[in-house]
């Protein structure tokens, strides 16, 4: 099986493994608190997975259209009609904190 269908050099070389600081940065971006122990414990598993996906880098995909959807279809459009009723009461019954119809969060600083 030919993985290379022509002269091909990978244009990119993503890091083979993530260090703890990178893991902490990603966790901040994903808004997930991780302790140093957790970051260390997860590093091995994450890097094992990244090792798995490195296999993709060897494939020459020049000229291949990316596939974003399972089916090559086009977007259907909805008629512009305001049909949704006010369901605030039902929706806010499951909210952690509300007041005067507003969702409450720790102060947002502008």
């Amino acid at each position: 099986m030919a993985l290379f269908s022509g002269p091909f050099r990978p244009l990119f070389a993503p890091p083979m493994s993530l260090d703890l600081e990178q893991i902490r940065r990603i966790a901040r971006l994903a808004r997930i608190a991780v302790s140093d122990e957790e970051a260390a414990a997860t590093a091995g598993k994450l890097n094992s997975l990244l090792g798995l996906i490195e296999e993709m880098q060897a494939v020459d995909t020049s000229g291949i259209e990316p596939m974003s959807h399972a089916m090559d279809l086009v977007q259907r459009l909805r008629e512009d009609k305001a049909v949704e009723p006010d369901r605030r009461e039902a929706f806010q019954a499951i909210a952690p904190a509300v007041e005067d119809g507003l969702y409450l969060v720790p102060r947002v600083v502008e």
Partner: protein, 486 residues
């Protein structure tokens, strides 16, 4: 009654031999008796189930009929049910009561099915062993120290142990087929877009697809008839004429061309699994089917591609769980950022967090082209492999998983080993194709083996036909686990 096919249950209900209330009570009693150990259900509400059963009996008394009217069905806890918790197997949603029904739930309700309960699952459908549920692992009825597969492991175990006549599941990379295989039941992942994703909590939107899990191919046809259908609320829902998936069940097999992918046999597959699958294929040959060797050369890339695309989509899909409008919010936090981080750290389990981190990483600046875009391109190569294969055959057959049910905890130290378990189911999901698992025997340990049947887009009726014919000649699907006797 516990082991009867849906057609028989339906006939019994129609003939007045049993009421929906009686039938529902029968299964509720069995859940009560056996589920303490299996943990297949997260939520069972007997009063509500019996209320629905009474309503179904009333509808029948009023002259209504239908193949699912009064039949108890369990839903995977990923489908939103109004007025009943929908947890997705997560602490994040442990108390979440959706203010709406999923389209699939609506469809079953319309057909008169009784909501028996919500089944256990890997947290946010991420897993192949049902060990990542916040509500504890599910046990395999065939061997309680083994996993039932995942992520629809609760539905699989429930059907296998006859706690429910049928159940729904969802499949993103094999989450219907692999647990069906590991528990000796039937499960079908339809062509992407046939079953609406509305109200089905998203894992990886471009791959997620709901589907039926049941005891036989004929049952799956009945369930699929209820589940499918266009839904304007899902942009990826297919606008197609409604079809009867049972229409070809009794069609002859002669002339059927079965493709056997070179990559699905041999190295890496348990000898017992390989043997059972080959035996099943020989049976098809004996019925006049032709086998043809095909190649799906990018199969080895499917797992890497999947573990880029699915976590990427998941990392974004799961951003809405931020503790602001619903779901878990940390009790203490110093500011908004801290509230987000703590709520999500507490609400999500380890596997979910890991996948969110991977997804966040592969989408992040500087890596997008190398990971996400590259994965999308290889996804197309994988889809093309199938398109080429279906020029040579009508159906593709092979194993569902390389092995039978593995022991709980066996793969927890190296998740990648577990991920590789899905190597034969993931390619189908990436290509948006329908795939199913039917029982085809047992390994030397007495654990079930599944035969995978893959069709081209919209070939469900043909797949069910092939499976049904096999099940008329075999009784693997009728076997009941010894540990959960009738």
């Amino acid at each position: 009654m516990l082991n009867a096919p849906l057609t028989e249950l339906s006939a019994a209900l129609a003939g007045g031999k049993v009421s929906s209330v009686e039938l529902t009570q029968l299964f509720l009693d069995r859940i009560e008796k056996l589920d303490g150990e299996l943990n297949a259900f997260i939520t069972v509400d007997p009063a509500r189930a019996l209320g629905e059963a009474r309503a179904a009996d009333a509808r029948r008394a009023a002259g209504e009929s239908g193949p699912l009217l009064g039949i108890p069905v369990a839903h995977k806890d990923i489908f939103c049910t109004e007025g009943m918790t929908t947890t997705c197997g997560s602490k994040m949603l442990a108390n979440f009561v959706a203010p709406y029904d999923a389209h699939v739930v609506e469809q079953f309700r319309r057909a008169g099915a009784v909501l028996l309960g919500k089944t256990n699952m890997d947290e946010f459908a991420m897993g192949s062993s049902n060990e990542s549920s916040f509500f504890g692992p599910v046990r395999n009825p065939w061997r309680k120290s083994a996993v039932p597969g995942g992520s629809s492991g609760g539905s699989a175990a429930a059907v296998a142990a006859r706690l429910a006549p049928a159940a729904t599941g969802t499949d993103t990379g094999g989450s219907i087929r692999q647990p069906a295989s590991l528990t000796g039941i039937c499960g079908l992942k339809p062509t992407y877009g046939l079953v609406s994703r509305y109200g089905m909590i998203a894992f990886a939107s471009s791959l997620d697809q709901g589907g039926p899990m049941g005891r036989s191919a004929a049952d799956l046809a009945t369930l699929l008839n209820a589940m499918t259908g266009f839904d304007a609320r899902d942009s990826t829902s297919l606008e197609r004429a409604k079809e009867d998936y049972a229409r070809d069940l009794d069609a002859p097999l002669a002339g059927l061309r079965i493709g056997l992918p070179r990559e699905y046999f041999g190295e890496g597959v348990d000898a017992d699994v390989d043997a059972r699958v080959r035996e099943a294929i020989r049976w098809y040959e004996s019925q006049g089917a032709k086998t043809v060797e095909i190649t799906l050369p990018n199969t080895h890339l499917a797992v890497p591609v999947y573990y880029v695309l699915a976590p990427a989509e998941a990392s974004s899909n799961l951003s809405r769980f931020d503790g602001v409008r619903y779901g878990h919010r940390a009790a203490e936090y110093s500011d908004l950022y801290d509230m987000y981080c703590k709520s999500r750290a507490e609400g999500f389990g380890a596997e979910v967090k890991r996948r969110i981190l991977v997804g966040t990483y592969v989408l992040s600046h500087g890596y997008y082209d190398a990971y996400y875009l590259q994965a999308q391109k290889i996804r197309r190569l994988i889809a093309r492999d199938f398109a080429a294969a279906f020029g040579q055959c009508d159906l593709v057959m092979g194993p569902v998983a390389p092995s039978t049910a593995f022991e709980a905890g066996a793969m927890s130290s190296d998740p990648v080993q577990m991920y590789l378990n899905d190597i034969f189911t993931i390619p189908t999901s990436l290509a948006g194709l329908p795939g199913m698992s039917i029982p085809c025997g047992f390994d030397s340990k007495g654990l079930p083996v599944g035969l995978q049947v893959i069709g081209n887009h919209f070939a469900e009726a043909r797949m069910l036909n092939a499976a049904h014919q096999y099940q008329k000649a075999t009784d693997w699907h009728l076997r009941v686990p010894a540990g959960t006797p009738l």
